[in-house]
């Protein structure tokens, strides 16, 4: 576990591009109304799949954030990241000219960013042969392109790195940002993640049998898979004293984080992690990882149940609204930051039959005027890892 008692890391800006809204205002509104982001996929051919829906970003106009000249070179993941990063900086009321840009970094979790460029490039390789391939696509095949383009756009030259860690990629990025702020290796870090739902990714999820034909139903006894989502969530993170000094609005603080590897040791690693993180800080509220895959959801539900026993604990599964993705944790943490401040709880949609009884207190209808002091964010990838993050008001 990593924590910093002397000097918390605080969230002072939020940027969001999601299937349920671009910008925190729309995002927050749709969260509190329990409006999900799933829609029929229209931008590529889905006729051969039984699953037809995903939480795609709609109505995103990159020109609001990026000049047309630069836009030509950018894939969607990079566009989402630049847009969310600019929103986070604006939301944090940061005038970059007044800061040392060498002390501002970006740490991103990338959910298959670059895959679409890879697919197009490789398609040309296979079908057209080596001599007719455009050199334009290749630079965008690397997962670090999104963070790199964002650093170029914002001219920030501090710490810059990209993580992929199964379905906990954004949490890995936030964990490392916390560590670097604690070490005083940066003054501000844009941390979070981006997912781009490209045709090949949707195809792969389908072929691997991960997807439901219906809407995802987290914690449901017969949850038969997830639906993918996309977008970017960016947190502006800084040390508490710096934030206070510049009079920044503080959404909340990140108190402690845990990263745990699966390591071929059964499913107890998630439970052990939860037990460890709640040792000195018992939350009232959990933002669960559950995505509608009953096997994973059951492990998570049992872990929560075993640790909290009969304590009052409320659980929400936001992937029922925004879908699943390797870096979807970033959007969920943006949501959690808003919940801490705007005193609402979004609902878990499509929850009908509990996996076991008595079951957890799953919030199924939106709640207003509900003050929350702390949220335990769970991110769980069955054969890879668990990441846990404690957020406090």
């Amino acid at each position: 576990m990593i924590k910093n008692m002397d000097e918390p890391v605080v969230i002072t800006g939020l940027g969001i591009v999601s299937s349920i809204g671009i910008g925190k205002k729309d995002f927050s509104l749709n969260l509190r109304n329990g409006k999900d982001g799933f829609s029929l996929i229209e931008d590529f051919d889905i006729s051969s799949y039984q699953t037809k829906k995903a939480a795609k970003v709609k109505g995103f106009n990159p020109k609001e954030f990026i000049s047309p000249v630069k836009l030509r070179r950018l894939d969607k993941a990079s566009q989402f990241t630049i847009a969310a990063s600019k929103m986070a900086i604006e939301d944090g009321k940061v005038n970059l000219n007044k800061f040392d840009r060498k002390r501002i970094g970006i740490i991103l979790g990338s959910g298959f960013g670059g895959l679409e460029s890879s697919r197009l490039f490789h398609k040309d390789q296979v079908l057209k042969g080596p001599s007719n391939i455009s050199p334009m696509l290749f630079p965008n095949t690397v997962p670090n392109a999104a963070a790199s383009y964002t650093s170029i756009e914002l001219k920030i030259t501090g710490i810059n790195t990209t993580f992929v860690q199964s379905f906990c990629s954004a949490e890995a990025a936030i964990y490392f940002a916390f560590l670097k702020l604690k070490q005083n290796k940066a003054d501000m870090i844009l941390a979070g993640g981006v997912d781009e739902l490209s045709p090949m990714l949707f195809h792969a999820y389908n072929h691997l049998g991960y997807l439901t034909k219906n809407k995802p139903s987290p914690f449901n006894k017969d949850g038969d898979g997830f639906l993918p989502g996309e977008g970017a969530g960016i947190l502006l993170l800084e040390r508490y004293s710096d934030a206070k000094k510049r009079g920044a609005r503080i959404y909340g603080k990140i108190t402690s984080l845990i990263s745990k590897s699966y390591g071929n040791k059964g499913n107890d690693f998630l439970k052990e992690g939860i037990r460890e993180i709640v040792k000195d800080d018992f939350p009232k509220f959990i933002s669960a990882s559950a995505n509608g895959d009953k096997v994973s959801d059951k492990i998570e539900a049992e872990a929560i149940h075993d640790v909290f026993k009969d304590k009052d604990i409320y659980v929400v599964a936001l992937k029922s609204l925004i879908g699943e993705g390797a870096a979807m944790g970033a959007q969920r943490i943006v949501a959690a930051s808003l919940m801490l401040n705007e005193t609402f709880i979004p609902p878990t949609l499509n929850f009908k039959k509990p996996i076991f009884e008595p079951f957890l207190n799953i919030i199924t209808s939106p709640k207003e005027d509900y003050p929350i002091d702390s949220i335990l964010h769970i991110s769980f990838s069955r054969f890879s890892c668990a990441y846990l993050i404690m957020l406090n008001k």
């Binding site: 080596p130 290749f138 650093s151 810059n160 070490q183 090949m200």
Partner: protein, 398 residues
């Protein structure tokens, strides 16, 4: 403390073989046999040859492991063996893992995609190793690692950064042992990609040569076991050297080209020295990023001179890629391993294939063959696509 080291490369399937390649200055660059290269401008790479996976893995295991995963597991097993750690011991200790990735399971995904494009029915299992963190998961599984887990994906600097993250985790007291490094393997997409950018030398990899025409790809894995001093001393571990510090910055200049004044490259080296608490005068060797691309080698030379001033001419600079190619996702770890070998064995591997030195690259690139020298501190650079710059400092045990 660095208490374990393992490599699996074209330049040797274990540390002893790799050391021999480095000492003798042998080029491992040959024609590619892994896939058809007809029609490409360059057709060479430092491919791992004479590799029979069945010598290392069962058929069942091979069904779920990409070449990248296989290389990583083999190198990790060598590293823990050298570290005198058993898997049983690892299970009992606070152990984490931090690996850098490049193409991950792309080679298998390409097979899938090829069949898909030809309207055949590829097996979906070819896609499972695609996500780059899969390699890290497989090594963690193999070694029973339960602690923190990270996979960095910043192209050519991934594994250098991954080692730094491993050191951070130990410094924070979160784990006592971190398995760090990286693995990568050749694939057609990356090969075609660098060809499409005309960034590949069709003849050989010749960093700092006047006629250098680009990089040559390599493949393989390098794993370093990092351990807290207390843990290492308490179990009387072999201490191979010390990881002293690192730094990373984003150049924020261009997605593929380095900024020509070398300002940020020089700055990241300076920050790494500061992090390690080492003065400029103490560096005995620079293990250069040195890819063989015209621009990169020149800017790196400029950046070294910018930071070290006149002293730059007295610091040997070596480019391992001249022998074993550019291993992308594992390059930083491979070069950290080579740096550690220099410290342990007291020699500097040569930069090979230089026939006519570029007059603008006027540092001491160790062209005459391996040089015997006592090495206390090495600076190792990894400068990636996207401007992800990382520098590491590795030292002899104090």
């Amino acid at each position: 403390m660095i208490t374990g080291l393992g490599t699996f490369l074209s330049g040797g399937k274990n540390i002893d073989e790799f050391r021999k390649t480095l000492f003798e200055g042998i080029s491992k660059i040959k024609n590619i046999t892994l896939f058809d290269t007809k029609g490409y401008h360059s057709r060479i790479a430092a491919e791992i040859k004479d590799y029979n996976p069945y010598n290392y893995f069962s058929k069942k295991e091979l069904n779920r492991l990409s070449r990248t995963d296989q290389f990583a597991i083999i190198a990790a097993k060598e590293a823990i063996k050298i570290s005198r750690l058993s898997i049983d011991e690892l299970r009992k200790k606070r152990v984490g893992i931090s690996l850098g990735a490049g193409t991950g399971g792309m080679f298998l995904a390409e097979k899938y995609h090829k069949e898909y494009l030809k309207k055949k029915k590829p097996k979906p299992s070819l896609l499972i190793p695609f996500i780059p963190s899969y390699t890290t998961d497989q090594v963690a599984k193999e070694l029973g690692i339960k602690g923190p887990i990270f996979t960095t994906t910043t192209a050519c600097s991934s594994s250098a950064t991954a080692i730094g993250i491993g050191a951070d985790i130990i410094l924070e007291g979160i784990a006592d042992i971190m398995i760090t490094g990286g693995s990568d393997s050749l694939c057609e997409l990356t090969f075609g990609g660098f060809n499409s950018l005309r960034a590949m030398d069709p003849v050989t990899c010749r960093p700092f040569d006047k006629d250098r025409a680009g990089m040559v790809l390599g493949e393989g894995a390098a794993i370093l076991v990092l351990e807290s001093e207390q843990s290492a001393l308490s179990r009387d571990a072999p201490i191979l050297g010390e990881f002293l510090g690192y730094a990373m910055v984003g150049e924020a200049y261009h997605i593929t080209a380095p900024e020509e004044t070398g300002e940020l490259q020089s700055y990241v080296m300076e920050l790494a020295l500061k992090d390690a608490n080492i003065s400029k005068d103490e560096i005995d060797l620079i293990n250069a990023h040195g890819t063989g691309t015209p621009h990169n080698d020149l800017v790196e030379t400029v950046a070294i001179k910018k930071l070290f001033g006149k002293k730059a001419y007295n610091i040997p600079v070596t480019a391992n890629k001249s022998m074993i190619g550019h291993c992308l996702g594992s390059a930083g770890a491979v070069e950290a391993a080579a740096s550690l070998i220099s410290i342990l064995e007291g020699f500097i591997p040569p930069t090979i294939n230089i026939k006519n030195l570029d007059p603008k690259c006027d540092l001491d690139y160790v062209t005459e063959g391996a040089r015997i020298k006592n090495i206390n501190y090495v600076l190792s650079n990894s400068f990636a696509f996207g401007g992800n710059l990382t520098s590491l400092i590795i030292g002899k045990r104090a």
